[in-house]
Amino acid sequence: MTVVEDRPAAEQAPVEDHQRIITVKVRRYDPEVDPEANWQSFQVPVEKGDRLLDALHQIKWYQDGSLSFRRSCAHGVCGSDAMRINGVNRLACKVLVKDLGDEILVEPIKGLAVLKDLIVDMEPFFEAFRAIKPFLITDGREPTRERLQSAEDRERFEDTTKCIMCAACTTACPVFWNDDAYFGPQAIVAAHRFIFDSRDDGAEERLEILNDKEGVWRCRTTFNCTDACPRGIQVTKAIQEVKRALIFRRG
């Protein structure tokens, strides 16, 4: 498809034979225009292999340049484009439009302040992440070579190393929706990654942080987080393992 320079943007949406038209309903919000958020429908030509991100690009590039959303890698690596798609949290760059029906609802992830359209303020999410000390903590003297680890020891926390911090899990959690102070699944996943790392000595410290009133005990085993995670991390299982470590730890 070629973009003809001298026609107004709105007319340039190319519809070709192998494309079909779907409706994408986006939850729009621009505080400079309207203090209320509202739905806006777009007719979008898509082809078979298109992902939702392609449909959003089509809207932004050909229909309405003011549509705002985050994305970077477009391949499920950077964690920028988690959104609520047909009511569930997904990465726009990972879901195919063919799996979403002819009318697709797209909203910002829930439980964080919306700044504009699909862009939310991620700071509270990162704050919870920082609170669990997401870095190696060690006692004793610095070793003179690498900190080695057996394959089995590494396997213990393999699953939780895969997190890309997209916030799909935390903002899928009904406890987080109504309780700002809850650390949320991601922070617990991040803590799990260090608590079960044989090279790390900060487990006790992190467990104590998550033993808080707003820590792991707020989890109600809803499994929304596990369902939402684009990396297939067993989020609920990781949370349960942290609970178990708290119950059975010594001292």
Binding site: K110, P174, D180, A187, E205, E214, W217, R220
Partner: protein
């Protein structure tokens, strides 16, 4: 394009639709009530499987089931300390389990502090009444009342 001044910029940071009110506490000291509540939910749930299923089978299914229940049937069972203990445990465990379950649900769904407070007061008052009344009946039940 008009320039946005500092103060205008501040005003653009609006509350709706959602802002964070609280932040994760950094105290680092655990309140273990939530941990004990969590363990209690699992332990009581485990016991309730036996107590409630046993109760339901005896009262509703086995041996004529619900048709044969009357004052005499209840009096007969409560003549034995075993069934009184069974029912007492079932009452306390189910009541505390259900109350704690509703407590967390209220925490999730009540958005305003006032609503949350009053819903919990209602919950605690009603479950206290049921516990006291139920316990009273189990301990002071008099089979001769029928005669």
């Amino acid at each position: 394009m008009t320039a946005v001044t500092e103060t205008q910029q501040d005003r653009l940071v609006i509350e709706a639709p959602r802002t964070r009110k609280k932040r994760p506490s950094q105290s680092g000291r655990g309140t273990n009530f939530e941990m004990y509540a969590w363990i209690f939910m699992r332990m009581s749930g485990l016991l309730l499987v036996f107590l409630v299923l046993g109760h339901l089978s005896i009262m509703l299914l086995l041996d004529g089931g619900v048709q044969r229940i009357n004052f005499g049937f209840v009096a007969g069972r409560w003549a034995s300390p075993f069934w009184r203990t069974w029912d007492l445990m079932q009452l306390w465990l189910a009541q505390l389990h259900g109350t704690n379950g509703l407590r967390v649900i209220i925490n999730d769904y009540a958005e305003r502090d006032g609503t949350r407070f009053w819903l919990k007061m209602l919950l605690y008052t009603s479950s206290f009444l049921v516990l006291v009344l139920g316990t009273l009946v189990i301990f002071t039940f008099d089979p001769d009342l029928a005669g």
